[in-house]
């Protein structure tokens, strides 16, 4: 009997370590559904999905970087530079494709710069990407003096569709997000590229001894991060209807939170695309739910921080307990 109990409690530990973070999200979800009127409605859920779509896309890019054991601190600040690149080209040409290509180019350049400094030259990722992010602040302020750029009246429909359009009753950003989640999940888990990225994150030195070109793959992760940031920035700018140099700064902290939640999500310490999606959902759900409960704005930040600490703590604590038993 005693033995049986023991095994059961161990299984429970395993289960909660593996799904603890997701379960935690579910509990919060149920809580809001019960206590916040209008939270659990189709309209609100669709809105929540739309709100989280940009964060999810940025976080998906960051997931590549973290999967390879790296970090990218440039995301929040660099978003604005991409916003205004997209906006400026759109205002000048009113051509969506050109503007999109411009935005993606800046994303690639950003990733190349980060990757060159971190993966190739070997600077510490935290410092180097932070510095690159700081440079982008200077650049975007230099160009705009901090002023937003409004779209022209006759702006191309495509440029608005990315952030505001719907297919049926589903917002386009939601569809785009879901496609990208599936894509990243596929790349990370089913392809050689993904396997090698995880290997590098698991043990950089052993990967090198195993013949993996560590520099090259780490460079790729930063480029992916830049490209996904560019996609999110275009979505954001399209949503706002104007290019804001300061918009997207919240991406940084929320992205870190979402991807950290992702690394603890399935108990293995590797961030996965689906984990990042759930992580981003938890973060945005808190904002959404707390707003519905009429909790004041600044208090939402406190709650968000606490939730991240709590969920990571739970996972680490359970992991430690599992080791000992």
């Amino acid at each position: 009997m005693i033995k049986g109990d023991k095994i059961q409690s161990r299984d429970w530990l395993h289960f909660s370590k593996k799904y603890g973070t997701a379960l935690f999200g579910l509990v919060v979800f149920v809580f809001f559904s019960v206590f916040a009127n209008n939270f659990f409605t189709i309209n609100n859920q669709l809105m929540l999905l739309r709100q989280m779509s940009m964060l999810t896309v940025v976080a998906l890019g960051f997931t590549f970087v973290m999967a390879a054991g790296g970090f990218d601190m440039s995301l929040g600040n660099a978003a604005g530079l991409i916003n205004i690149t997209f906006g400026a080209i759109l205002i000048a040409t009113n051509n969506f494709m050109l503007s999109l290509i411009g935005a993606l180019t800046v994303g690639v350049l950003l990733g190349l710069t980060n990757g060159l400094l971190v993966a190739i030259i070997g600077l510490p990722d935290f410092i180097a990407t932070f510095a690159v992010g700081t440079i982008t602040v200077g650049l975007k302020m230099l160009i705009t003096k901090g002023n937003p750029m409004s779209f022209p009246q006759d702006v191309s429909k495509a440029a608005l569709f990315v952030g505001q359009g719907k297919i049926g009753s589903i917002p386009f950003p939601v569809i785009l997000m879901l496609i990208l989640v599936v894509l990243v999940a596929f790349v990370l888990e089913k392809t050689r590229l993904g396997r090698r990225i995880y290997a590098i994150g698991g043990n950089k030195v052993a990967s090198q001894y195993g013949g993996i070109n560590v520099k090259k793959y780490r460079l790729y992760t930063f480029i992916f991060s830049g490209v996904f940031l560019a996609i999110a920035s275009v979505m954001l700018t399209s949503r706002l209807g104007s290019a804001q140099p300061l918009a997207g700064e919240d991406f940084m902290l929320d992205t870190i939170a979402a991807v950290f939640l992702s690394t603890t999500m399935f108990g293995e310490g590797e961030p996965k695309a689906i984990g990042t999606f759930i992580g981003a959902f938890i973060i945005c759900m808190l904002t959404n739910g707390l707003t519905m409960l009429n909790i004041e704005y600044y208090f939402q930040y406190i709650t968000k921080g606490l939730v991240v600490i709590l969920s990571v703590l739970t996972s680490v604590y359970l992991g430690g307990k599992l080791k000992k038993s």
Partner: protein
């Protein structure tokens, strides 16, 4: 009055259970004051668990421990430490940019009071550090930065770190791993010195010659049980081995015949790196070449040069008659395999499954246009688990939960799947048990029979002598000797050249 024959540790009928599985059963053990009591057994025999109970990492599930005659149950490491027990771990954990004496006092820093403020007392620490080193009879500049000293000296610093607590009992866990012949000897002397100063020592090692040399008594573990207690006069390598292996018979492995062919496959032409100086040698197809030398002599650097992990400054590496640019990519393209020395650091991806660790290097084989076929990955892993008798719950188990010997077999499989031509095996049997060692020797022999060339770097000369066709000896990055292995007194001859005595 201290009784010289008093048991400082007495363990009665200890058992340990993990999740319903008894990994230790009915262990009796005692340690006398000022003796070296060795623990031996294959990996998984229960030595580590036993040590962890004594050092407070685990708590026994049954039985009693007496320290100096008093019953005690350790609930945490601090508890064991306060009873005067300290462990010198296998791994070296020093802060590289701290000075030698600073490392000795990490966690036990000495302080002095200046105007009511407690500050670090470097002067006193230096004084104590010198005293401790004198006690060991070791000369070492305590003001050197730790990254500047060699592995053997780092080990000494680890011992000093423990000695500053003035322990009665020290547990040594595989202290000579990664040390060359000479350093090994001097470390054993150091440990004997400690014993003569009245410290009681529990000594865990796979190296039976070492144990024969310094142990006063030997306890042999097998399958979680204590199977023998050998007194000083009973300690012979054969007696230990027969107890360790039980029913199984053991003949120390000697490879039968050479399979070297005429055709040359690899050549170093005047290769220099940061450490290597104008190294020239060649390997023939099917040949097994041993590379001997003390730690730091440049054995690993040869492997690193081939893989481009150290920059080749001059000279060239020629494979099959073509000069290659050494990078990991090129080495693999030229069918060269590298089993690195530091399994944990350079070999395994700890959080990856056995299967993913097997397929890591030649991932192309399991993918189509970059998309992986996990089913066939799984099948290949099953095949090699079977072929090399890797002990694991299955291909999906994470490699970090396997024993050292089994991890090493997984790393070998990683290369075997790729059908390499030249295998560079750096300390392939480091820290693994006799059975796994023999499996690896037999595997290497099979490979050479298939016409593959193998380069083995080892600090343990008999390993090279019994396996290789030819041995080259390195000292300070230079080749100082070359021997065929069909001669008498070879170990002695190589030692002389290696240590540079005459």
């Amino acid at each position: 009055m201290v009784n010289i024959n008093q048991n400082v540790i007495e363990v009665k009928d200890i058992g340990k259970e993990f999740n319903g599985v008894w990994v230790l059963n009915n262990i009796d053990f005692d340690l006398k004051r000022g003796e070296i009591h060795a623990l031996v057994g294959e990996n998984g025999a229960g030595k580590s668990t036993f040590i962890k109970i004594l050092s407070g990492v685990h708590c026994q599930s049954s039985g009693n421990i007496f320290i100096n005659g008093k019953p005690i149950k350790f609930t945490c490491v601090e508890h064991s430490e306060s009873s005067g027990i300290r462990t010198v771990h296998q791994e070296i954990n020093l802060v590289p940019y701290f000075k030698v004496y600073e490392n000795m006092f990490v966690g036990s820093e000495l302080e002095k009071s200046v105007g009511g403020l407690k500050i670090i007392d470097s002067k006193e620490m230096k004084k104590c550090a010198v005293e401790v080193l004198n006690r060991l009879g070791v000369e070492l500049d305590i003001d050197k930065t730790t990254s500047e000293i060699n592995t053997a000296m780092k080990k000494i610093v680890e011992i000093c770190k423990v000695l500053v607590y003035k322990p009665d009992i020290i547990i040594f866990d595989e202290p000579t791993t990664a040390l060359g012949q000479e350093e090994r000897k001097s470390l054993l002397n150091t440990i004997t010195t400690l014993k003569e100063q009245g410290i009681s020592i529990i000594y865990v090692s796979h190296n039976l010659e070492e144990i024969k040399e310094i142990a006063d008594r030997v306890t042999v573990f097998r399958d979680g049980k204590k199977v023998a207690l050998l007194e000083k006069e009973e300690i012979t390598i054969d007696s230990i081995i027969s107890n360790m292996l039980g029913e199984k018979t053991y003949n120390s492995y000697i490879r039968e015949k050479s399979c070297a062919q005429e055709e040359e496959i690899l050549r170093f032409e005047d290769v220099s790196t940061d450490l290597l100086k104008h190294v020239n040698f060649s390997v023939k197809k099917g040949e097994m070449l041993g590379i001997a030398g003390v730690v730091g002599a440049g054995k690993t650097e040869i492997a690193k040069a081939i893989f481009g992990l150290d920059k080749v400054k001059s000279g060239s590496i020629v494979v099959n008659g073509n000069k290659i640019t050494p990078t990991p990519d090129n080495a693999i393209k030229n069918k060269i395999a590298l089993v690195p020395e530091e399994r944990q650091l350079q070999g395994i991806i700890p959080n990856f499954s056995v299967s993913k660790n097997v397929t890591l290097t030649y991932l192309e084989k399991w993918s189509n246009n970059g998309v992986l076929n996990s089913k066939s990955e799984y099948n290949s892993a099953v095949k090699y688990i079977d072929k090399l008798s890797i002990k694991t719950q299955g291909p999906e188990q994470m490699i970090k939960y396997l024993s050292g010997g089994n991890q090493q077999k997984v790393i070998l499989s990683r290369w075997l799947v790729g059908d390499f031509e030249i295998g560079v095996f750096d300390e392939p049997t480091k820290g693994i048990d006799i059975k796994a060692k023999e499996d690896i020797y037999i595997l290497m022999d099979e490979l050479s029979q298939q016409g593959k060339s193998i380069i083995i770097m080892s600090s343990y000369l008999p390993e090279l002598i019994y396996n290789c066709d030819r041995i080259i000896v390195l000292k300070d990055g230079e080749i100082v000797g070359e021997f065929t292995t069909n001669q008498d007194n070879l170990e002695e001859k190589i030692c002389k050249v290696m240590l540079g005595g005459c």
